[in-house]
């Protein structure tokens, strides 16, 4: 088995443990499993069956041997028969390799294949030796794209806070009970190989519990390892192993100081023990046979995937492998991008803009598999945020259907690639006939919250208001369901915010828990924050408990709770990946009654938590936006209320001047852009602040007001050049732009206007986007679109959204995701 780079890792587990080994990012090795070299249980004499067992259990789960990778994540499952587990991690294409022992369930992502193969049972020849894993801080970081995750299967639950750890079982290392463990494998280059170890770390490091593999490896001859060395004499003198020839080949060159590796060129990484081929039948890719021959030459060729150079470097290839060799040569003729290792391919694909990425997905299976994996998407988001790229606007609408007014509305989703200025139609099958929902962009996904269905047409099915939340992922084109809200809402007011450790969801959650414990009835009368949590002295304590609660409740999910982590590296990482949450308030309930309650959704734990209801006397919530740590809601009564996300309290914002007058027919919209709060509404020309009496005949114009957050004054910022034709224009705030979509029908033809206002400019002016083709595309999108775009009823505060046929066709909504520019830029 050739290896790009490898490391050995010694995990000592108690026999009951099953390790699931998930290897992220296999390399190009076309034969399914480069992870085949995972989970190699040390075939020491003490464990005669270990080798074969490991082999059996090393099936790629969910990955087929023919195709490259199903998903980019592989799971290997290996029952660890012995106290010592030496998975040789080889073929790791990338680097930055980390090994983590996590709790079950795996966190490799929802689409990660589940283990299928039965766990073989093993004779237990255990040697309970001292652990060589160095136990570590809890793993809180989100899963890494190039990490190796070891997931103990039946890891005990973390003890409840306050309870002592359960006594260690005999043979178990007590620290393991506190899974997860985290191992860093040195700090190799991102896409290089593990050969480049950092200079030797001071001995003190290992003593202090450093978790880098480098120090781990160096620690081997140290006292820690004596027990293991006794159990397996091979381990003790590992440093000399290389000198003794191929018998010890399966030891990684990692453990060798590079200088001492006389036979070890950069690539000397053959980890398979050629002395035990029977015990561990090779699952090598057929094309790699020639490498086997090389073993004896001392110059080991690791890079089976490397077509040209590798082939050239093996001139004396065994004739037995000629078939493969020919194949290899043929491939070599034409340089193809397909031959790049997976991680490099990911790097390339990760830079593509959305449209190109989706096109690339159609190129070949391997690319598709690579690009739909959650790890890839995460990497794409984190590494290549490409701030300058324009976002996509997703317009959720409802087609009236061409069968007439009576037909049930058909939801439709249209995406505007702002950059390419083109409209594209997105499959909206997942919406299931819902309308009057609200949409928010969170991370990579679009959340469709609440809404109604039915109630339209001759069959007059019952109108239902939904609690349900649907999620559309433009990157994968998939719809899925998220946890439903606690209350059914149509047209709730949404905000997306970044969670912090002190965020109110935690408080709210604590409140919920507490409520449950105390068995108090729900009492959410408007206005009050949960009084229980006003005492600042109890805050820190509570917070601790909250963290524990989260840990307990969310299993591996809390890995992403990086914000709570004060540990150096992890928190650094955590800052790169803001944890977003949705706040939803108001809307209308089952009987069309206005709601004052609110809730917060955390996508990571997939749960809604109720928050304090908002003040009932300010009227229906019209629109909301998160600005800083505050969620502002503009109400029908022209009052601005604010929910402090950290404190979890509502307050009415007392602006120093009365809010700008506006036309009631046009819904006001709040938008937060570049940390500034704007309100868009339709107002009369001129800067009058008189009472909003009817001024028939006077010209109206769409205006943008900004609220100065310091002085709390509204000030007019800009005016839209176009006449406000669409009373329900949709707005969305990107990073520094506010986008507006207006659609109306004139002379039987639908016109749409997409405009954007860049707020950071000194002179804030609206400019037209997609003037070139948006309208024609809209026509081309569907003829139904035409009938749909008129008469939108998307007033969040519309009086009684009765589903009169003429209005049922409307609910048009623009969801330019907040933070969309991070998202859809590339």
């Amino acid at each position: 088995m050739t290896a790009l780079g490898m490391a050995s890792l010694h995990v000592v587990l108690c026999p009951e443990y099953t390790l699931e080994v998930a290897i992220r990012r296999t390399h190009t090795c076309a034969h399914g499993l480069s992870a085949a070299s995972l989970g190699t249980v040390d075939p020491a004499p003490a464990h005669p069956h270990a080798g074969s067992t490991a082999e059996e259990s090393r099936k790629p789960i969910g990955g087929s041997h023919k195709s490259h990778t199903r998903a980019a994540a592989f799971h290997c499952q290996a029952r660890i028969p012995s106290a010592r587990f030496h998975p040789s991690i080889s073929n790791l294409p990338s680097s930055g390799l980390r090994v983590c022992v996590l709790r079950h369930p795996p966190l490799v992502g929802t689409s990660a294949p589940r283990p299928l193969s039965p766990t073989p049972t093993l004779p237990s020849h255990h040697h309970h030796t001292a652990p060589t894993i160095i136990p570590h801080r809890l793993l809180r970081a989100p899963p890494r794209r190039d990490a190796l995750y070891l997931l103990p299967r039946q890891a005990p639950r973390r003890p409840a806070p306050g309870h002592p750890l359960p006594p260690p079982r005999p043979g178990c290392h007590p620290l393991l009970l506190r899974a997860p463990l985290l191992l860093h494998l040195a700090r190799p280059p991102r896409a290089g190989y593990i050969h480049s170890l950092p200079p030797p770390m001071p001995r003190a490091l290992q003593r202090s519990g450093s978790n880098s593999l480098a120090s781990l490896l160096r620690a081997e001859p140290a006292d820690d390892f004596v027990a293991a060395a006794v159990a397996d004499p091979k381990l003790g003198d590992r440093d000399n192993v290389r000198h003794r020839g191929s018998r010890a080949r399966r030891r990684s060159c990692l453990r060798l100081p590079l200088g001492a590796a006389d036979g070890c060129r950069v690539c000397d990484c053959d980890e398979m023990d050629s002395a035990a081929p029977a015990a561990a039948p090779r699952r090598r890719p057929s094309g790699n046979d020639e490498e086997e021959e090389d073993d004896d030459d001392g110059a080991v060729q690791c890079f089976s995937w490397k077509k040209g150079a590798a082939a050239a470097a093996v001139p004396h290839r065994a004739s037995g492998a000629s078939g493969d060799a020919v194949a290899l040569k043929e491939e070599q003729e034409a340089t193809s991008l397909a031959e790049l290792p997976d991680d490099v391919t990911e790097m390339v694909l990760g830079r593509l803009p959305l449209a190109s990425l989706l096109a690339a997905r159609c190129v070949c299976r391997r690319w598709r598999d690579l690009t739909i994996s959650p790890q890839f998407l995460r990497m794409r988001r984190d590494e290549h945020p490409a701030p300058r790229r324009a976002p996509w606007l997703f317009l959720f609408g409802v087609d009236a259907g061409d069968v007439g007014w009576g037909a049930a509305p058909t939801p439709a989703v249209h995406a505007l690639d702002v950059d390419a200025r083109r409209w594209r139609r997105v499959g909206a099958a997942g919406l299931n006939g819902r309308f009057l929902f609200s949409v928010a962009g969170v991370g990579d996904d679009l959340y469709v919250v609440g809404g109604r269905s039915g109630g339209c047409g001759s069959d007059a099915t019952e109108v239902r208001t939904h609690k349900g939340v649907l999620v559309f992922s433009p990157l994968t084109g998939l719809w899925r369901k998220a946890a439903p809200m606690r209350t059914a809402r149509s047209r709730p007011v949404l905000g997306v915010f970044e969670m912090s450790a002190t965020c109110s969801i935690l408080h709210a959650r604590a409140a919920a828990e507490k409520e449950k414990h105390v068995r108090r009835g729900k009492s959410r009368l408007g206005g009050g924050a949960s009084a229980v949590y006003e005492d600042p002295h109890r805050l820190s304590l509570r917070r601790l408990r909250l963290k524990d609660m989260l840990n307990d409740d969310t299993d591996s999910m809390d890995l992403a709770l990086s914000h709570g982590n004060s540990d150096g590296h992890e928190s650094e990482e955590g800052q790169q990946q803001p944890r977003l949450a949705i706040v939803a308030v108001g809307g209308r309930g089952h009987w069309d009654e206005p709601l004052v309650s609110g809730e917060i959704y955390d996508p990571l734990i997939d749960r809604w938590v109720e928050i304090a209801g908002f003040p009932a006397d300010v009227g229906l919530a019209c629109s909301g936006a998160v600005c800083g740590r505050v969620f502002y809601v503009y109400c029908e009564s022209d009052t601005l209320v604010a929910y402090h996300l950290d404190r979890g309290t509502w307050a009415v914002v007392q602006t120093s001047r009365p809010p700008p007058p506006r036309l009631r027919d046009y819904a006001p919209t709040l938008a937060c852009c570049a940390s500034r709060l704007f309100m868009l509404c339709v107002s009369w020309c001129g800067d009058r602040h008189g009472p909003a009496v009817s001024r028939r005949g006077e010209k109206v114009v769409r205006k943008v007001f900004e609220l100065d957050l310091a002085s709390l004054q509204w000030a007019e910022v800009s005016a839209h050049p176009d006449a406000p034709m669409d009373p329900n224009a949709a707005f969305a705030a990107g990073r520094d732009r506010i986008y507006a979509v207006e659609m109306f029908r004139i002379f039987g033809k639908v016109l749409d206007f997409v405009t954007a206002c860049r707020v950071s400019d000194a002179e804030q002016r609206w400019s037209r986007i997609g003037r070139e083709n948006a309208a024609t595309e809209a026509d081309a999108m569907s003829c139904r679109m035409k009938s749909m775009a008129i008469g939108e009823v998307m007033q969040p505060c519309a009086e009684a959204m009765r589903l009169e046929p003429s209005m049922a066709n409307t609910a048009l909504r623009c969801a330019a995701p907040i933070g969309s520019s991070q998202l859809f830029g590339a």
Binding site: P189, S196, V266, C267, K306, T335, S336, M347
Partner: protein, 186 residues
């Protein structure tokens, strides 16, 4: 820069290397020798940095069997010309979060450097950079490839990058239906 592997010259190289330890000699898969300044190598390539630190640099030419001479020449070229303008790879990778460090746009000379390469040379260079752990070069080359891919239809991508379509017709139809909205050529 390129030295033939003649005996005398190898001797000479060794002498030079002994006398002046500022350079590292690298040997490509086909046996050609290249010299690159130690400082640049250590700065740009984490692998070479590790080897230098570990003392596993061979004065006769460190074997890099995976890298063809053409690619290695490009690598060395890149190192020699541009070492000074690039932050140290070792520095970058010493931070654990290097993986998530946002990519900086290639600079003008980097753009030119990759633009002049043929497809084959570019792919080889990517692999070499990958192998040597040259973060920046890898970034730049990957960027270049993705630039080449932008705005192309699947068919065009397959053609340009010589990738075999392994979808069945039905699958392709299905996936096209799914993603049709995103294509440029629909």
């Amino acid at each position: 820069m390129e030295v033939d592997k003649g005996k005398g010259e190898a001797e000479e190289t060794r002498k030079v290397a002994e006398a002046d330890r500022d350079t590292v000699t690298l040997k490509s898969s086909d046996g050609k020798l290249f010299e690159v300044s130690k400082e640049a190598a250590a700065r740009l390539s984490t692998v070479l940095a590790g080897m230098i630190a570990g003392g596993s640099i061979d004065d006769n030419g460190t074997d890099l069997k995976q890298i063809g001479s053409e690619a290695l020449e490009n690598v060395v070229d890149y190192c020699n010309k541009h070492a000074n303008s690039i932050p140290s790879a070792a520095l970058i990778s010493s931070s654990i979060s290097f993986n998530t460090a946002p990519f900086k746009e290639p600079e003008e000379w980097e753009r030119k450097f990759v633009d002049r390469l043929s497809h084959d040379a570019l792919f080889d260079l990517v692999e070499a950079a990958n192998f040597l752990g040259m973060e920046r070069l890898l970034d730049v080359t990957c960027h270049k490839i993705s630039e080449m891919m932008k705005g192309k239809s699947p068919d065009q991508i397959r053609e340009v990058f010589n990738i075999k379509n392994d979808y069945t017709k039905e699958e392709l139809e299905e996936i096209r239906q799914e993603l049709a909205w995103a294509f440029y050529d629909d």
